[in-house]
Assembly symmetry: D2
Homo-oligomer: 363 residues x 4
């Protein structure tokens, strides 16, 4: 399959550039009969939307999504769902200066070599603007999963050097950082304010958790649930690392520490992050992702132009000083898309399976 | 696609269980005209093979691979290449005791719930034994990539608590740990000997590097090169985390630190790990993976049986005390498979592209 | 992959119902640098468009296509191309009477059983209206193919009982039937006028030909070029049969008749239809398809309702008395999509192949 | 996906050449818990096997299949099933004369141009020998389908000029031609004997029927059940045409003739061939395929060699004078593979659907 589609049975195909007329998506394979309206998608889109606090880009995009197909009388029909978001606040003049220059840490250089031509306005296809459609498609997946008792939620677990412990899910919705610890918010705000004064940017770590996932999702040996989550999460702009459960901490763990023992009451721990042998265990699915600092900063950097000459680059325009701040809804969307796809695949192959063993949660 | 196939144009499909008669693979889409013999595959298989040092499982498998199809008069024909490895040292009696028990941190519990039935002998399909075929298939990819000037090499960068710095590639072949620092080997040996006496296991970190990769490989926005590498590497047994370039260190980096500046002489650093916007930049592709400690240890652990009763489990049999030790050739194979697939995909779509800009390496 | 996507490297995903707000498509994998504007697509859309003669449905749809993504400064960028056509002449009141009834020979009964819910207005997703997007996508493929010297053209070769011999390509554009024989047009018009008076419909046979196709396109053994053409052409609404070259006439041919001999000047005949062993031979690719008569006719028919009761059905609304009349551009589009996909696949795998043998045309 | 794999959830990947060491297949996605042994596959393999009557090739191949993976204690595990058939009666000396020559109507010319190199022995990968693995894989699909009440059966409906009416299924197993009319067998034998004396070959028409298929299988709009059947059947060697239901006869039918009316007792006819809007209707699925005459005949024909020189070709070796004679089990296998894949896909997406309407059969 060409590269702008994800999934096997539940598939999402997206198109659209930062400064083109619109973003488009086709979501195929959604089960029929699900109540769905644009408002269901808008809720998540608004959580990702730019310009909602001083800590994100000041580009103003209402990100109003239109459902064009696949929904009839308020319910999904099982046919593909076409989505449209018009771009409204493109300021192309911001970008013409960098037409022939490769901004460091951006995709300018690689798109140039791959395609020969590129839409240089705001990064074109490589802009994180495309993630709006991931969120819209993910909202469909999340709604269906919710009907099956499965929830997918995320939070920011680290901003630059500041680790943010998990306190409670309610807090996440009450601050611009998706922090699950309300007490950390002042520190985060102060950090971001200083960063903006320094004309710099910083990375972040996001944690995503799915609860209520039944055991059995995931396919051996390549399409493991964790492998497909890694693919989906790493495909988000700026992500440089993905962990499942204990992740890189596993390296220094002993077998006796890492293994999650089972008791009749449940698993005693969750170093596995809810995946054993690539298949969901019924425990919460836990993934972490690392996002690099925003590449677009106004501190000058060295680069070259398309003729190979040395140039100095300052990336103007309106940018997020920490792309991680708006990444939580995107990560939730990607996890939901993968889970729904695997739920459908599992159902297809294993409809006959009857297993009596109790499904264990986590102690 | 069902879950045992990886790739779009260059595809690898595998089958086989730990204690069944054989492992099978079909490698499709290999360019024609490549000189290929079983000996080319055997070299990498021997590097992964069990029983070559006291630090790995004592199961003795010659892992002799037979090329059954797709090669004629010593060259690939462009038709699918069928591979066969007979299992020879299955000791099924070792495993019958765990038939109705779920070993902690293994796939027993999840396979049971997914399929209702499972081949409990040595983990069946979930055993790392299947990775032999990944290595065989990867050897084909590596040979073709080599003909294009692309090399893929890996080493162990951490064993449990011991970080292993990169010294030189030659060292990797001269010790059982794939350590790139010969001076670290005595410490690694001592650590492993103690671990075995403690009846425990430990995790590891592997680094894989591809050099000579041209800019342009990878597809927006889902099938990014880094996303597909994350998928391929996370699909390896026991892997719990994948990083590209700076990986999780990116979280605490500033934009001015992370960005790799370009000069007419080359990139000045490689925090990106050779991938910008999901597309190769011409720099070395660098990935790191975290492997959890071996789940099979003889220290007793709590678990349940298929009826939900509490039981105590001791995993006997012959096991690697650190699955990471043999993981380097597997990681190399998976990276090579992804790179070749993307090389073919890129060629297909972008055959017309002519770009004048010089291709930059790393300073 | 879910069912609304076709292709491997050059992929087309469509969405949209007869009476929903719009039709949507995402065309992925188009090579970069191709000059492309909406006008290029509009030409083919106008050829398929309803209401252009008294022999087709009187629904008035301008079928104006908007290119939303993937084209920058008049050229394709290699990124996915999003297309939008708004529906403008939906008369939903025409259809409410059949909400709970299954029209014979329509998809009402099967959609009902598959999905439980269905958009009953004008057939919803099962309406031939979706083929507008096939034509738009096909126009992109045809334009790229043209840049490689490959043309795809079709004509109606039979209307009901009237066989229509091929005379010349120019004639095809000069009549409402896509007849390649201008002398047959009066007979066709008289036949259709009578058919309309009889409140009946009739089938048709379409022939599609691709010229300039280089040898080598198509993959053994499942994704043969002819197999993928059969898939693509059979996927068109109302198609009940597909032939390549001599097709069903091959059944009664002797080996000495069927085989196309080769001489240094070229093939002496083309019973193969340009495909040998599933791979293009350099001869014209020739396919024929059979379209059933329109199911929507005003002559009453027996059916049942959703409760299983016997009912009588008259399909009112605006319909084509012969769906085959507008099928030629659709068939061309589908052949073009398949050929471009296979051109890209072939390039990807076989870029290294250098063959000296002259490519043979047809004598 | 590369070209040697068919299917989405139930996938079959094959490899192997006419005169190589073996044929290999991996069947992925088979539901777990199905009783399966090599004997189940052997039954169908024996029906396709060469050398069982004087009317087929005299090559002697026992076609003994070995199940190497995916079956444990006599049941499928849900993991991929690896199959192996060793070639035993390769007479490579028969073929060396045609090493540099393109046999008319064979794939020699096209493989040469696609790959540059080719295994010329017996046609290599393009030989119908690969269909043995289709039959083996199809036998797995048929066995699972049978457990769901679905049967797939075929017969020869025309041999050269001789139409063979359907009389009863029992007759099919009692003659070498898969004739459903025992009374026709002497005529068929006489025809074939004369054909062999004439050193010629002839085409055939095969009909395949699936009964017990529930309504709902097939996906809009590309992956329609009929479209995927067309793909699967056209992918069989020598097939030049595929029809569903009335097929090409639809061209001359009126709407009132073609449409299958519904009554509370069932459909009154089956021109649709069991597929409406690309989705199964619950009626029998009926497909017809046209096979061209065998290309390998001893009557000399004109051709060229790899340097473009005119040559005369006589295809010696052991060949079927009518490839259609052994094609019935292959066509059954391909239909079964497609049906099982769509059954799994349908289950995956539409598990929630509850429909009260009675399912209709055919009157």
């Amino acid at each position: 399959m060409s590269g702008n589609t994800i999934g096997t049975l539940f598939t999402v195909t997206t198109a659209g550039e930062s400064h083109g007329p619109a973003l488009v998506a086709i979501v195929d394979g959604c089960p029929p009969g699900l109540e769905l309206s644009a408002a269901d998608l808008q809720h998540d889109l608004d959580r990702r939307k730019p310009g909602t606090s001083r800590h994100t880009t000041q580009r103003q995009e209402p990100d109003e999504v239109e459902i064009l197909t696949g929904v009839f009388e308020g319910r999904t029909t099982g046919c593909p769902i076409g989505l449209l978001i018009r771009n409204t606040d493109q300021k192309s003049k911001d970008y013409s200066a960098i037409k022939d220059t490769f901004r460091p840490a951006h995709a300018d250089y690689t798109y140039h070599h791959k395609y020969g031509v590129r839409d240089y306005r705001g990064g074109g296809r490589s802009s994180a603007r495309e993630t709006a459609m991931r969120v819209a498609a993910g909202a469909i997946a999340r709604k269906y999963l919710a009907s099956q008792g499965i929830t997918v939620r995320g939070y920011m677990s680290q901003l630059g050097p500041i680790e943010i412990p998990f306190k409670n899910w309610e807090a996440v919705h009450e601050n611009a950082f998706f922090s699950a610890d309300p007490g950390k918010v002042p520190e985060l705000e102060a950090y971001m304010d200083q960063l903006r004064r320094d004309q710099n940017s910083v990375g972040a770590r996001i944690t995503v958790v799915a609860e209520g996932v039944p055991p059995g999702l995931g396919e051996p040996v390549f399409d493991r649930l964790d492998a497909e989550l890694a693919y989906a999460l790493m495909s988000i702009n700026a992500v440089k690392g993905v962990e499942i459960g204990a992740g890189f901490a596993s390296v220094a763990q002993l077998g006796t520490e890492h293994r999650d023992e089972l008791t009749p009451e449940g698993f005693t721990s969750n170093n596995a992050g809810g995946v054993l042998g690539g298949i969901s265990s019924g425990q919460p699915i836990v993934a972490h992702l690392a996002l690099k600092p925003t590449s677009s900063i106004t501190t000058p950097g060295r680069s070259i132009d398309v003729d190979g000459n040395a140039v100095e680059v300052i990336t103007k325009g309106r940018h997020d000083p920490c792309v991680g701040i708006r990444a939580t809804p995107i990560a939730e969307a990607m996890m939901a898309i993968v889970l729904l796809d695997h739920l459908l695949r599992h159902r297809g192959q294993n409809a006959d399976v009857k297993v009596g063993t109790p499904v264990l949660g986590q102690l």
